[in-house]
Symmetry: C2
Subunit: 361 residues, 2 copies
């Protein structure tokens, strides 16, 4: 087992990564304040891993909420269901929520924990690659709104993250590949050495080699933890973690939540960001080729879907949390492994990129 720490002073917390962690009581119990624990999972993950999770909670007063699976259920209404379950069981302010599942379960559960009685503790137990390398770490919680992704939420840090790599064994191939998008992201935004490592080890990762998996998760979490520790509330560098996300959120919202997986949309978004960066003269053609080639090898899209026009994309992108005073800031690449947040691009360059980077119908 590897353990990293997210250094946030008195709210610092550990990330445990390894095999066979789910049933271990010693990882979770130090972070439980009271006796009441509500495990939130979904109908896919629950049957596979809930029993194992419950072993770690033996002796506690536990309850379970099983949500439907899918991004389209990441809504205010679903969050309300968790609150209803907590109130029905009369769980008090000392209760702890455990998010057992992927990014959707983690984001909704974290937001419910942020709001219930104005804030209770929660623990992230991510079971997808995407959640293990990205969404479970850093305290961003949210639900979607039909008009925009992650528009209703809170910053609320978990008490602990337990990433059991065994859970990746049952992850469908499509979801596993979607998780690789966020792994590639860390290489692109700030860790060129890691990008090289991914290029070399993508075959091992796709073959789900446990050693390569653990290395990729650890390195990703280390990058994320450093950024979060430096800028918890995203007033600065944390926005770099959104490489590909403004394009990606537009795709997800535009197609309807759940049509493309989040990681798929981010993968295409990173390629669009790279193309725009190249158009601005910041990145050469070779670099764009390397990025698109890696994304393609990971089985991920390098183009926006044909179903969305360039105009629709641009319109959807205007609803983004990085908009300031009406101007959309984008995360672009100054170089391989060096992202910046900027409004220093012209609208025409963005439009041309959007027009050019769409899949053929």
């Amino acid at each position: 087992m590897k353990t990293l720490e997210v250094d946030l002073g008195h709210r610092a917390y550990p990330i445990h990564i390894g095999s066979g962690l789910l049933p271990l009581p010693d990882l979770i119990r130090p972070h439980l304040e009271g006796r009441n624990v509500m495990v939130v999972t979904n109908e896919t993950v629950g049957p596979l891993y809930l029993a194992r999770q419950m072993q770690a909670l033996a002796g506690y007063d536990t309850a379970t909420v099983v949500l439907p699976d899918g991004e389209e259920h990441k809504t205010l209404e679903t969050m309300g269901r968790i609150i209803t379950a907590l109130l029905t069981r009369r769980f008090d302010r000392q209760c702890t929520l455990v998010a057992l599942g992927g990014g959707v379960v983690g984001d909704i559960t974290g937001f419910a924990a942020a709001c219930y009685q104005r804030g209770v503790n929660y623990i992230q137990v991510p079971t997808t690659l995407l959640a293990q390398v990205d969404s479970s770490v850093g305290g961003k919680t949210a639900v979607n709104h039909p008009l925009g992704k992650n528009m209703i939420g809170a910053f609320h840090q978990p008490r602990c993250v337990v990433a059991d790599t065994d859970t990746l064994a049952t992850l469908p191939d499509r979801e596993y590949r979607a998780g690789l998008a966020e792994v590639i992201k860390y290489g692109l935004i700030r860790d060129p050495e890691f990008f090289l490592w991914i290029e070399e080890h993508l075959g091992d990762l796709l073959a789900r080699d446990p050693v390569a998996q653990t290395q990729a998760i650890e390195r990703s979490c280390r990058n994320k933890a450093e950024i979060v520790a430096a800028d918890e509330r995203e007033t600065g560098p944390r926005a770099l973690l959104n490489l590909g996300h403004t394009f990606g959120h537009a795709i997800e919202t535009g197609l309807g939540y759940g049509v493309w997986l989040h990681g798929e949309a981010v993968a295409a978004g990173m390629c669009l960001a790279a193309r725009l960066s190249a158009r601005l003269g910041w990145l050469d053609g070779t670099a764009v080729e390397r990025i698109e080639s890696l994304v393609r090898r990971a089985g991920l899209p390098v183009r926006a879907p044909a179903a969305l026009s360039a105009a629709e994309m641009r319109d959807l992108m205007a609803v983004d949390k990085k908009v300031r005073g009406g101007a959309l800031r984008l995360v672009l690449l100054e170089d391989m492994g060096k992202a910046i947040v900027t409004r220093g691009y012209d609208a025409a360059a963005l439009d041309l990129t959007l027009a050019e980077c769409r899949a053929a119908r």
Copy 2:
């Protein structure tokens, strides 16, 4: 105009109290970050004061949400309506929400501001006595759940509070009296001198004498600001502000939100707390008499409603944010002007008090 400050370090903010403040741009503008301002009000307050508020915002890109009036609309769904309005107008993270109305408008708007894009600024412009002396100050935001009041919310401080006493002129008598409950509360929990002052000046307050009103609001806000500055997140003394509220919330939830006004329920709750304190030997009969007499003179109930049995009340009280490890802590009176939070009462004493303190059918 009087100005107090809520001393919360870099999140400190002013409370302005006085006549004719609504249209003044200078009070609000220093606290607006961007150009986008969303004024949230309700169908009662809007027609009376929205135009005056808008004078202060001339030149800004403003929009308005008009909510239905009443505690029964303080729900997650109503909060969602504000988010929809913000997204429809594409307001960004630099936008500001203005809560123009009573406690319900303030609580929902504050919660929407806490959640929109994970947190934007808001300003409280309370137009009821209750909101001016209590709910607009201190950053507690929330919506109700059918199973419990204020169960979904956040701590999120406003940037500024503007209490224009002119708005009290149109406040219906019943709501005005409900506000007096929270004024009396400050006297009871920590300011015995103020309690005496209220006893002496209740006639002036009921006659809506502006000088007495301003004094009562200022002294109430001073008490509240001191408590909030000492304990923003209610880990300790802030819970004293809940005198009468555990009983009161049970009444509100049990009868259905909006049947009794919040202040009415709190008034009865304070009398029940006093009765229980007397039963425990902490308060003498004279003190209880003084409290009930003042509450009665203010035109407020001193008993729980006949429609709720003692057992129902006790059951509803068990869903309270002050429950710790299954035990309900109550705010009780050690003396006139001295409240404590305690679980040092026996269940039988509580049951007897609940049985005794119900209105005759």
